[in-house]
Symmetry: C2
Subunit: 314 residues, 2 copies
Amino acid sequence: MNATSEICSACKRREVFFHRPCSGQRLCKKCFVESIEAKVRATIAKYDMLSFNERVAVAVSGGKDSVSLLHILAKMERARSKASFTAVTVDEGINDYRGEALEIAAAECRKLCVPHHVVSFKRLFGFTLDDIVKRKRQIGDCKLTACAYCGILRRRALNVAAREVGADKIATAHTLDDEAQTILMNIFRGDLGRLAKEKPVTDEVHPKLVRKIKPFCEIPEKESALYAYLKKVKFQASPCPYASEALRNDFRSMLNRMEEKHSGTMFTVFNSLERLRPALKEVGENRHFEECVECGEPSSGGLCKVCELLKQVR
Amino acid sequence: MNATSEICSACKRREVFFHRPCSGQRLCKKCFVESIEAKVRATIAKYDMLSFNERVAVAVSGGKDSVSLLHILAKMERARSKASFTAVTVDEGINDYRGEALEIAAAECRKLCVPHHVVSFKRLFGFTLDDIVKRKRQIGDCKLTACAYCGILRRRALNVAAREVGADKIATAHTLDDEAQTILMNIFRGDLGRLAKEKPVTDEVHPKLVRKIKPFCEIPEKESALYAYLKKVKFQASPCPYASEALRNDFRSMLNRMEEKHSGTMFTVFNSLERLRPALKEVGENRHFEECVECGEPSSGGLCKVCELLKQVR
């Protein structure tokens, strides 16, 4: 540390590593890491995400956000948190991609002494994502993108995996960036039902649908990446070969540009929606869930989306 | 018209001039003009903008949107509309700019046989906008942009002008683009109070505050421009020398890009908010208006913003 270097605004001892523009904090590496962990604990408390003795399935894809989340939750458990955690990973069956992520997830779980449960599309649905995309292309059905199929099946797989490990909640690593993007996408699509539904803790709508919590919903993606880097967390950096969410990418770059110009933008968008939340309740349609006539899983009516999709593929 | 040219989907006779992507309509010039006029009448009816025998002050800046609006409203009056219209123009006192617009506004009013009333910043406040910007720069006060001062004073001037002509309502030519931009800006700023307030017909909050209506709120700016072009409406095309609303420009270009990719985007954003409207009422703070201790005009408390601003300038 040389004489001109700036000193951390928290510990007043170590050299500044990170500047958080919206709060004005200038933190050293250690205080930055602690600030992220404290923020996650505060978010969990603020939204009342966990109850005493709850079992939580942590959705770990192997990417930086989910592995960082696992690290923080495992640390909380070691410090006698009120909940216990199991990592769950969905193997969609994507050649030359998912294998590496699975290995990383498994290795991180061993290191953290967290039980790890894997569910595969192949076991649950009889097809890998690669199979489905190939079949869809063969029959010339290109209505939806691979991401759209994958989204439907992965949501189901995660829910089944959570039930298999006896979880009361599923924790996902959606960041503040993801949340702000989703909010804008739903406004731009005019999908107020989804706008109401996507929140830090989902409602209990059906006994077979495990509730979701998002402990990273107030953590910017940039800070989650920095946390992973500082904690030397191993994660898969290569993007999914099917990734092409054009619309989300538009919102991502737009929000990033705005955030650069006016720091705090993403949090303001997120917060605007939180303040609208009580009102949204009344606007959003009351979602009613039955059980799918074919598989018995929760469905908004008749045949569930998963069975509908699989029927087309078969 | 040659053999290969396409035929208007409305009249089935004339050649197509305009394609409206979100509705699929392909219209000839005449049917396009009629579609805009019909849409404005429909918007006025949908939001219950006008009552029997009401006097309306039409805010005419001399730009394409406001002159087009005046044309359509004047035509409605000739066809025995239930309301009567007077044009009002605010002369902010901007050298080498406002003069041309004033002449255009006056000429169009004469042509349409609509009474025209002009109020100037100079007469109402003792200063032109040029004076104020100069004074502000002299005293080194650059907190707000010229647009911010102008916005405060123009709103007041318009309200005074409307009362001077005995108007029950003020019609402004805000387009669908303006509305969608404003919605996003308020979400990005977290200003839910404004989000609730800005609507096609403003609420009655104080007897001295003339209610506003926006008959163009569902007309895309592009179509308003095309209408002006086809009706050979004269308007001022040069932008205001002070114009620099950086934030709004960001939203404008973002929305334009989205609209190009997904036609109907702006309308969806506008409509999302309209559907949220009933719920927003409860979230928005209850605005309470008193009278300014100095000028007696409506104010949210003590000294109004106009008097505050003028005090700094004096």
